[in-house]
Symmetry: C2
Subunit: 307 residues, 2 copies
């Protein structure tokens, strides 16, 4: 159910270090693009507005905006604070709102998380094509998972926070206490990039001569994969982010997920080796902006339905 | 968004030991009701059909059916096998389909799981009123959780199977290996009624003079509660079923969930003691049939939208 309509789309992939801003045609073709360093909203929002004003002057009126952003951020369209950063420790960002910078364009705005945006990009044009329920997990500085159903991100009273689930951690076999300031050995505290550097002094892709380390990290990630199966029953699980680039890791995640589920979930999708069930991203760095453009299409479609 | 329309609703709460069949008015008032023992479909389906034929003759045409059933069962309305029991070990039930017994009435049928049905009942008229995202967990012979969003049950390629997630199990402090034939010490293997009897020789409500046992079981259930928060962000969590009736257990679940999350999720719903966030059911034994009637309303509403 890709949204079908016409008009130009303004898209933002808002990350902790940079914003990617793009103006795209309805078919997704990008006609203008800029990278803006993330500083405080007071510093970078005016540059974002200037980019879209300029792009609009050159290419035509922007019909809708899609934003895939770091968080935590309010992504509930029915909330008065929709599009507002909530409890982020990032200086200046708590209370900042994308509508403050984009509202003057008079176009509808859809805001979602960065991980939901990347999930949407992969669903539309990457490794998630053809799925109805898709779980996309990124494992880098932190750990986050977005779940889509029919191309719409799922949420409850907030977006999900799956990086903080607890894998099975045998402290005798692995005495590392974890690194999460809240939970110690939650998943993020065990497998995020900083946790791996903290315990081994280097990133996982430098440790591939030590299969036990790859298997250990893969096992923790597999516990989330198994939880995702039992608690969301996705058609496919995508794992991306810097940590997952370590050679052998995705194979370890498949092997350990299979062991964890132990044949309980019987479905043709979970074929013997899970090779097409647990996969890496198809789009690489373009997933986020591809998803943000699709969020803009969804904004336009919703707006046109209301007219 | 309670479905609003008119007509009589046929409802079935199909459990492993009994079927509750009811004919209800659109407002939920039950005008006829029967209990039919669960045997093979060949034995009990004809009695189910006879009940509804008789009820229809007495009260008027049945406009739609709602079924909340034990499983595993196909609950995807777009599936050719919708309403069919899948891999159940229950003799005679694999491949049986509710449409076989109800199809001759020529009315639309919605089939969902028993736990989703109970969740729906609680959402409509019990402890889940006023929520948008509701998680209902039953802990009895087995463990199952249904999650609703705006009064519709969520699913992926199948209904969820949350009873088989793994809580944190310290085998030094608690050497019980668990009882699940697939996973040993998954949640069902640690806290379902048979697991408790297996380890302590009696049910949990007979052990309330031993607070450590209540706290141990409460802690395992709390690990699911915390996972539900992080992976579904529900507005409320309901825990029902025989095990949860043990005095002190729900308090232990609240206390241990709070400890597990450790302040990470900041939201007014998660007030200091979680007293209105983690709750017991409001409807008792009527949740299932109340939910089945609402499923019938949904069947009717969908049918009328298609006309």
């Amino acid at each position: 159910m890709q949204s079908q309509t016409s008009g130009l789309i303004g898209a933002i992939e808002a990350g902790g270090t940079k914003f990617i801003c793009a103006l795209a045609q309805i078919d997704g073709a990008i006609v203008a693009r800029a990278r803006i360093d993330t500083r405080t909203p007071a510093e970078c929002f005016p540059e974002v507005a200037a980019f879209f004003r300029h792009a609009q002057a050159s290419h035509g009126r922007i019909a809708a905006f899609g934003v895939a952003s770091f968080g935590p951020i309010d992504i509930d369209p029915t909330s008065p604070a929709y599009g507002t950063f909530t409890t982020t420790p990032k200086p200046g960002w708590q209370g900042a709102r994308f509508h403050d910078v984009l509202g003057s364009f008079g176009a509808p705005i859809v805001v979602d998380t960065d991980v939901n945006g990347a999930a949407l990009g992969e669903w539309l044009a990457g490794a998630g094509r053809g799925t109805r329920t898709l779980a996309y997990t990124t494992i880098g500085t932190g750990v986050g998972t977005g779940v889509l159903r029919d191309g719409r991100s799922l949420m409850g009273f907030s977006h999900y926070e799956m990086g903080h689930v607890h894998p099975t951690h045998d402290r005798v076999a692995d005495p590392f206490p974890g690194w999460c300031p809240y939970h110690g050995d939650c998943l993020e505290g065990l497998v995020a990039g900083p946790a791996i550097i903290k315990r081994w002094g280097t990133s996982l892709d430098k440790l591939t001569d030590d299969p036990a380390k790859i298997d250990l990290i893969g096992g923790y990630i597999a516990d989330l994969a198994a939880d995702l199966v039992l608690m969301h029953m996705p058609d496919r699980l995508i794992f991306g982010g810097g940590v997952v680039k370590a050679p052998g890791l995705i194979e370890a995640v498949r092997r350990r997920t299979k062991a964890r589920l132990n044949g309980y979930v019987r479905n043709a999708r979970l074929e013997p080796g899970l090779e097409s069930y647990i996969v890496t991203p198809g789009l690489g760095d373009d997933a986020g902006i591809t998803g943000a453009i699709e969020l803009g299409r969804q904004a336009l479609a919703r707006h046109q339905m209301q007219d």
